[in-house]
């Protein structure tokens, strides 16, 4: 049957062979005819001419022959398709189930692969992205290290720097905006290789202190603040109360490495700067042709120790310097997610395919009567095969189109599902490449389930068996059982994955955040360009205004909001405890908070006293430390009353520890709290500050009022990120939630398909055995024993599937190691619940057909 179809298809698309054959045939005809004329006495020339004349227009004949071939082939196909579609429409339940299976499987696969195509497979939008590397250190690199690298490193054509995340107020546009500036080296735009859409980037001269008041705007900020006015290039803008000359506009797609920015300003390269003043988070460089991340890393292992010594870094600094390809840095974090999801959709697609194959098996067996009749009417095995095959093809094509439609819809909703900060979201689309992949996938799926009917043997055999009066149910039953078990096994794997993610979400929800996030509103306010005294006055007024509003319990300020993605750290020196030469001093994150902060966000004061308004600029300096700090730096001692200095946190002075407070997970829910210390805001009025407000009612409902009140104190101070703190936490769980949602959807589909599969096979089995069941009932079997008989069959295959599926699931879920939290990937609970759920569903699906079995009078069945 394959040969018949393929020959027609070949003829349809490559008429060359057909034409060559035709030419040979026509030449033979002319030769015979010429010979006949010669035999009747013509001269060879006359004979040939006569033969040609009688033959008619040779070109026309060739054309006609080709057409008739094509038309007939198309005609055949059309006839088959019409027949197949009529046959499918006669069985709407079968057709709908099969189409739904194919469409769901393909839609899931296409959607996930469009994400993978956009993020992992397409190169980053920079010229020669493989040359781009990021050089980083777990502490920091500064101007002097960049200068040293530029002098010493041979692996690069260009070395620059990038320090993202500087928040500055931009005044001029109303209302004032809080913008996220990236401080970059003069050669940064050259290194990235992206040209501005307007104006120019800044050159190396901008690194010279004094020349550095220039800015390049991002396209989004240009839209938002200046309505795409091209005249802004060459004009001055006011950033952090200082004038900057706008030199150019960068395109929206410019999203260097993994951190976007609203605008870029030069990092003034004064190597004599205090290192923290130019704390660069990232050095970006372009590799010289021939150099690789490996060779550059080898070179760095020579240079870094020299720098460690020269700049008097703490011991071990050099080993923390790493080189990473730009692609790895941008995409490394999403790769495990996408690998797991792509495996999940492959499993789902296989489940769907097995389901359709199973349905086809049942259908083909049920149709044996029809096929046998057709066969006895003279249809050949080949024709019957073509019939069944065309049905498969039709199912595949319609299912594929439906799947594609579903995928288009799903891709449109992706930006809402994917976690904030997911790389390259804007580039996700169903591209030509994805379409081609989808078509190939459809054909593969089609071919896989089209094999199923042929497993029953050829139609002719069916006909012979039927005529001989033997049953043909037996052979198909085992095949169906195997497909069913496969389906269940695949569903086990998907369910296990979903269960693990569910447990992860639960574990994340159970994590002690260290603060009470309910009824708390947070916002980020940036009163720029003020002196320390002016900031103190500003914040006092803000808190006074807010605190007395109805519905507000308390309000406080904090340097960096928990889960805000920002954290400052300092070296901690304990009074009277000298640091051994060469040993690294202890480090701790630090926060500057107003007195009510602990009470407002519910951080318990474990020992000592909370800050009060008396801890002001004139009072002796005090700090509070968290439990981790106390345990790490004062193990077995009472830290209260101890005196420490902590770099910028204490302004270089020594402060007295007055309190031990609870630990707060500041970075992420799945990262345990580190050492953290708190200083009273009045004693260290730093710039960027978050506001936390505890409300009596729904915090989001008060967002507008509170924003207005803060705005009224200083209209030039930009306010951003006004959010309920619960929402901040919800956002932080977006990634595991996305994986959970997608895995959950995939697993539910697989479960549904398995249930359909079990039901279909059991229901068919029951119909086959009605006679047997009738006899049993007639001989006195009660309904329960019949039910046991029927359910046992379905459950048997399900148990086989679960038995096979569990070890596969155990092996495959190991790929989820980076995604789960709080549990092992072999989590016992998940691996107990999943089989139970599956067997329960299989049991229910097997129960339904028992109604057919015990319905009606057994004598009716026996008489049939």
């Amino acid at each position: 049957m394959f040969r018949a179809v393929s020959r027609r298809v070949v003829a349809l698309f490559t008429p060359r062979r057909v034409e060559q054959e035709l030419d040979g045939e026509l030449a033979a005809h002319l030769a015979e005819e010429t010979a006949r004329h010669i035999a009747r006495g013509m001269t060879p020339a006359d004979a040939a001419a006569a033969a040609r004349r009688e033959f008619g227009n040779l070109g026309q004949v060739r054309e006609d022959a080709r057409d008739s071939w094509r038309i007939a082939a198309l005609d055949n196909l059309q006839r088959h398709l019409r027949f197949a579609s009529r046959a499918l429409m006669r069985r709407p339940a079968f057709t709908a189930t099969a189409l739904l299976s194919i469409a769901l499987g393909l839609a899931s696969a296409i959607t996930v692969y469009s994400v993978i195509d956009a993020t992992l497979l397409r190169p980053l939008p920079y010229p020669a992205p493989e040359q781009l590397v990021a050089i980083g250190n777990d502490q920091f690199l500064a101007n002097r290290e960049v200068a040293a690298l530029r002098q010493q490193a041979q692996s690069y054509t260009n070395i620059g720097s990038f320090s993202p995340g500087w928040l500055f107020p931009l005044t001029g546009p109303t209302p004032a905006l809080l913008v996220n500036a990236g401080k970059v080296s003069g050669n940064f735009f050259e290194i990235m290789g992206v040209r501005p859409i307007l104006g120019a980037g800044f050159g190396m001269s901008a690194e010279t202190p004094g020349n550095h008041r220039v800015a390049v705007l991002g396209e989004d900020l240009w839209n938002r603040a200046y309505h795409r006015d091209p005249a802004i290039v060459g004009q001055s803008i006011t950033l952090d109360s200082r004038p900057y000359l706008v030199t150019g506009i960068m395109p929206r797609a410019f999203h260097p490495i993994d951190a976007g920015a609203d605008l870029w300003i030069p990092m003034a390269m004064d190597p004599s700067d205090q290192p923290w003043a130019s704390a660069i988070t990232l050095v970006v460089a372009r590799l010289r042709p021939g150099a690789s991340v490996a060779t550059a890393s080898a070179e760095m292992r020579m240079i870094a120790p020299r720098m460690e010594k020269e700049f008097q870094h703490t011991a071990g600094w050099a080993t923390g310097v790493t080189i990473q390809g730009a692609e790895e840095r941008a995409l490394g974090s999403v790769r495990p997610v996408l690998i797991v999801l792509s495996m999940a959709v492959v499993l789902l697609l296989l489940t769907a395919t097995a389901n359709v194959a199973n349905l086809l098996l049942v259908r083909t067996t049920e149709r044996r009567q029809e096929l046998a009749v057709r066969s006895s009417l003279g249809a050949t095995a080949r024709q019957l095969g073509a019939l069944v095959l065309t049905e498969c093809l039709l199912l595949g094509i319609i299912g594929g189109v439906l799947g594609l439609v579903g995928a288009f819809a799903a891709v449109r909703t992706l930006p809402h599902i994917l976690p904030a900060g997911f790389p390259r979201v804007a580039e996700i689309a169903i591209s030509g490449r994805v379409l081609v992949g989808a078509a190939i996938l459809t054909m593969l799926v089609c071919a896989l389930f089209a094999i199923a009917p042929s497993l029953l043997g050829t139609a002719e055999n069916v006909g012979i068996r039927l005529r001989s009066g033997r049953t043909i149910a037996g052979g198909g039953a085992r095949t169906r059982g195997l497909f069913l078990a496969t389906e269940v096994a695949l569903a086990v794997v998907l369910l296990a994955g979903a269960a693990l993610m569910g447990r992860t979400m639960f574990a994340l929800g159970q994590v002690d955040r260290g603060i009470r996030s309910d009824h708390v509103l947070t916002m980020r306010v940036m009163p720029g360009g003020k002196t320390a005294d002016a900031r103190r006055v500003y914040w006092t007024e803000v808190l006074e205004r807010v605190r007395h509003l109805p519905g507000v319990r308390s309000a406080a300020t904090v340097l960096h909001l928990p889960m805000g993605g920002r954290k400052w750290s300092a070296n901690v020196l304990v009074d009277g405890r000298p640091v051994a030469p060469g040993a690294a001093p202890a480090r701790s994150a630090w926060q500057s908070v107003s007195p009510d902060y602990f009470a407002t966000v519910g951080i318990p004061v474990v020992a000592g006293r909370p800050f009060t308004t008396a801890d002001d600029a004139n009072a002796p300096k005090v700090i509070a430390v968290n439990g981790v700090f106390a345990a790490k730096i004062f193990p077995g001692e009472n830290p209260i009353g101890k005196r420490v200095s902590a770099g910028n946190a204490t302004g270089g002075d020594t402060a007295t520890i007055v309190a031990v407070v609870g630990n707060v997970r500041h970075d992420s829910l799945n990262v345990p709290a580190g050492a953290e210390l708190y200083v009273p805001y009045a004693q260290n009025p730093v710039g960027a500050t978050g506001v936390v407000i505890r409300t009596t009612g729904e915090p989001a409902a008060m967002a507008g009022v509170l924003r207005d009140q803060v705005q009224a104190v200083d209209p030039a101070a930009p306010i951003t990120d006004v959010r309920a703190m619960d929402e901040v936490y919800a956002r932080s769980m977006q990634r595991p939630r996305m994986v959970l949602v997608l895995m959950g959807v995939f697993a539910s589909i697989a479960l549904l398909l398995s249930a359909i599969g079990v039901y279909g096979v059991v229901a068919y089995g029951v119909r086959q055995r009605l006679r047997e069941i009738g006899i049993r009932v007639a001989l006195g079997a009660d309904h329960w024993s019949i039910r046991r008989l029927v359910v046992g069959q379905g459950l048997g295959y399900a148990i086989l599937g679960v038995t096979v599926g569990l070890p596969i699931a155990l092996a495959l879920t190991r790929f989820m190691r980076g995604l789960v939290f709080g549990i092992a990937t072999s989590d016992a609970l998940s691996f107990v619940v999943v089989p139970v759920v599956l067997l329960l569903i299989a049991g229910i699906a097997s129960m339904l057909p028992t109604r057919i079995a015990v319905r009606g009078n057994p004598t009716d069945v026996l008489r049939e």
């Binding site: 045939e25 033979a28 030769a31 015979e32 033959f55 008619g56 004949v61 007939a72």
Partner: protein, 110 residues
């Protein structure tokens, strides 16, 4: 050119070819000669139209073809009726019979 020739009716060539092949496998040129001989030269077919017709029958699966050497020692393409070709012939013959009977009755009444 003593005999008046009649054009083949549209579509009848397929039927004729199927009928001729009922006797056994044959090749294109021989088939054209047979039509000439059996119809005593009345049915005038453009020899060229034989080949598109054969292709049409082949594509529909009514005949199958293979290359072989003819009685005149030339490589020619032989055609043979398939089972479905045989059935098609029966059907078409019956149709034709009904058609010509009806036509005969209409034209025969004066």
């Amino acid at each position: 050119m003593g005999v008046r020739k009649t054009d083949m009716l549209q579509g009848t060539l397929d039927l004729v070819v199927l009928k001729l092949l009922q006797a056994g496998p044959d090749h294109g040129w021989a088939l054209t000669r047979s039509i000439q001989a059996i119809s005593r030269g009345v049915l005038d077919i453009n020899y060229g139209t034989m080949y598109p017709a054969l292709r049409r029958l082949e594509a529909r699966g009514w005949v199958r073809a293979w290359w072989a050497v003819s009685e005149n020692n030339r490589r020619v393409r032989y055609y043979e009726l398939t089972a479905s070709g045989r059935r098609q012939l029966t059907t078409e013959r019956a149709t034709w019979q009904r058609f010509s009977d009806a036509l005969g009755r209409i034209l025969g009444t004066n």
